[in-house]
């Protein structure tokens, strides 16, 4: 075990290396650049490849290529770059290419506030590319979680063969804190499932349990991979509604039906809570401080902190019958709020938004708790 003093960005890069990432392609952008810089320094030391691409379109394409070349691959960016990556995130979802995309959120839209915090890419992470697909997104609240959740992101990407988004925010990315690096043998590593049949029997998109085994380039399987609607052989079937139906259902269901396994929620003071704050990322730290203060004053308030944001834990929220009000605290104008509303009904949800540039203070949140208590 090692104890380090890392920023969220450095912890994320180190988590990637610990997870087995050996290829990084990226393009400089504030506030994520330290991840690329640290990967440029560290990857060669472990035999990995760093390349700075000409833009984010290329960065995303390169990590998909590297993944098919057999590597665990990652890129890191922020809002404007994340927008450009959506094209090939879609290709990654369609071709079932394991990879990790870090989006250190800053305030948008457009160029927005490059150096300051935002949390408004939550829906973009879910819906950013065109067409129906499902994605996984994780949200760390501390440098320690930047390390831990980046490892988890790689493991989920490998297990479910899907791009996984690490949805950081500027505050956590530049925050320095103690990070505990467990010994190598204590870190759980998942690798993509490989084919177990000879090449002439292998169907690259035949999945018995939603997720097909993956044959990479040079392994002798002569696989054809396409962004077109494809059958189990991987061949284009771009005019067959039946093939489209089967494929898109599977791409979505492999995530939807496994939501329980990916669920990762921190509950704080929830046992007897009547009001639950819902938050994520750095903002959840302020929320926790507000809950502590409210508890001291005798209010029955708890915190639900989402570490896995997508797939959204619908069943979990549906089960929370005892909660009278959900107060969603996020640095945007109401994104996770929509998901909570969808599950518990509009009249049980309150929003404390912030447009970006700073996170909420515990005082602001406490004040809002008092307001909600009065309405209750």
């Amino acid at each position: 075990m090692q104890v380090k003093f890392y920023s969220g960005n450095i912890a994320c890069a180190e988590g990637a290396i610990a997870a087995g990432c050996r290829f990084f392609a990226g393009y400089p952008i504030t506030p994520s650049s330290e991840i690329a810089e640290h990967m440029a320094l560290r990857l060669p030391q472990v035999g990995g490849i760093f390349i700075q691409m000409e833009d984010e379109l290329a960065s995303m394409a390169a990590i998909l290529g590297a993944s098919w070349g057999g590597a665990k691959a990652m890129t890191a960016t922020s809002g404007p770059g994340f927008s450009l990556m959506q094209e090939n995130i879609g290709l990654g979802a369609m071709t079932e290419t394991p990879c990790v995309v870090v989006n250190v959120q800053r305030a948008g839209p457009s160029t927005g506030m490059p150096t300051l915090v935002g949390q408004a890419d939550v829906m973009q992470a879910r819906w950013g590319s065109h067409g129906d697909y499902e994605i996984i997104a994780l949200s760390p609240s501390s440098p320690q979680e930047c390390f831990d959740l980046t490892i988890r992101a790689f493991n989920l990407a490998e297990e479910y063969r899907v791009p996984v988004i690490v949805l950081m925010d500027e505050s956590v990315s530049h925050m320095f804190e103690k990070v505990i690096i467990p010994p190598k043998e204590k870190i759980r590593i998942v690798n993509r499932k490989k084919p177990r049949v000879p090449p002439d029997e292998f169907l690259p998109y035949k999945a018995d349990d939603f997720i097909p085994p993956m044959a990479c380039a040079g392994e002798g399987y002569s696989v054809h991979v396409t962004g077109l609607t494809h059958d189990e052989k991987g061949y284009p079937q771009a005019t067959s509604p039946e093939v489209q139906e089967r494929l898109v259902r599977r791409l979505c269901d492999k995530i939807r039906k496994n939501e329980r396994k990916m669920r990762d929620i921190e509950e704080y003071e929830m046992e007897d809570a009547e009001i639950a704050i819902v938050s994520f990322g750095t903002t959840a730290r302020s929320a926790k401080a507000a809950v502590k203060f409210a508890r001291k004053k005798g209010y029955k308030v708890g915190l639900i902190r989402l570490k896995t944001i997508w797939p959204f834990p619908d069943e979990y929220f549906e089960s929370l019958d005892g909660i009278k009000k959900f107060l969603v605290v996020e640095v945007n104008y109401g994104q996770i709020k929509l998901e909570v509303e969808r599950n518990v009904g509009k009249n049980r949800v309150e929003l404390l938004p912030k447009m970006g540039g700073e996170i909420h203070t515990p005082e602001e949140i406490y004040k809002k708790i008092r307001e909600v208590l009065q309405w209750k």
Partner: protein
């Protein structure tokens, strides 16, 4: 009809269960693919380690017909995808097969940067002067004055000279042929496949369906005749002198063949140093 031969000698390179292909009668793509497969046959490349990457468009469909690991990616992104593929698995011989619009309009930025870095890959661009798949719109190589569906009064844009772009960006091997020059094209493909670094071949090819019929070349045969009458071989010429203009000669040949350290070699050197 009587079947004269059940198997084609190049069947082993093809996903025969995907034939017939989607290309139009008179299209040059079949010829170019044929040259490529013959070139493969005459090299000692292990097919297991060959990967074909395509973007989107008519040429983009090449990847789907060759029976090796093949990747049909997004529009314009074949080269950066191929960059990741090659760097992650240095054993691979990576060939990008795509069209002029894919590689030089939407993917133009990636082309120049991969050439600048000298990534070890072969890029074959089939240039048919237009976007065929989408119905014949003007592209970055459409000659001045040519009629397309989006230049109905004649093209007012200056086209790219692809070989000049490739050479200026740093490609170590640059050649241009037409779909008529099957033997020379095949030889060039062999050279490119055996070349270390970023090699580039432009193949001028007929597109009677969407380009030719609007530009007084309504059949593949007429286009071939045009190539025969208007192609001039000039090896070693400065590619900036080889612009393509309507009614003028098409300069073909091998323009660049130089040696330069590749990104791939440099990055593995760097890794060795960093691990010491």
């Amino acid at each position: 009809m009587e079947i004269v031969a059940k198997n084609h000698p190049l069947d082993k390179y093809l996903r025969t269960d995907r034939i017939p292909h989607i290309w139009c009668p008179g299209c040059g793509l079949g010829t170019v693919l044929n040259c490529f497969l013959h070139a493969l046959e005459e090299t000692d490349i292990d097919l297991k380690n060959l990967a074909i990457v395509s973007g989107i468009g008519c040429t983009g469909r090449v990847a789907g017909y060759i029976n090796v690991d093949s990747y049909h990616t997004t529009h314009g992104r074949a080269i950066p995808f191929a960059t990741g593929l090659k760097l992650a698995n240095p054993k691979l011989k990576v060939v990008v097969f795509s069209g002029d619009g894919d590689l030089f309009a939407i993917g133009g930025n990636h082309f120049i940067h991969a050439a600048r870095r000298n990534i070890d890959m072969t890029v074959i661009c089939v240039n048919n002067y237009n976007y065929g798949m989408t119905g014949g719109q003007l592209g970055p190589t459409t000659p001045l004055d040519a009629r397309t569906t989006t230049s109905p009064y004649g093209n007012i844009e200056h086209p790219f000279n692809l070989c000049h772009v490739a050479a200026a960006s740093g490609a170590v091997y640059v050649a241009r042929w037409t779909a008529l020059h099957v033997r020379r094209l095949k030889e060039s493909m062999k050279e490119a496949l055996n070349k270390k670094g970023f090699s580039f071949i432009e193949v001028i090819a007929s597109c009677p369906t969407t380009y030719g019929r609007r530009n007084k070349m309504p059949t593949g045969l007429e286009t071939m005749k045009y190539y025969k009458e208007h192609s001039v071989i000039k090896h070693g010429i400065d590619p900036s002198k080889a612009d393509i203009e309507i009614g003028k000669d098409i300069v073909v040949g091998k323009f660049v063949d130089i040696e330069k350290p590749t990104f791939d070699e440099a990055v593995h050197e760097l890794i060795k140093k960093a691990r010491k």
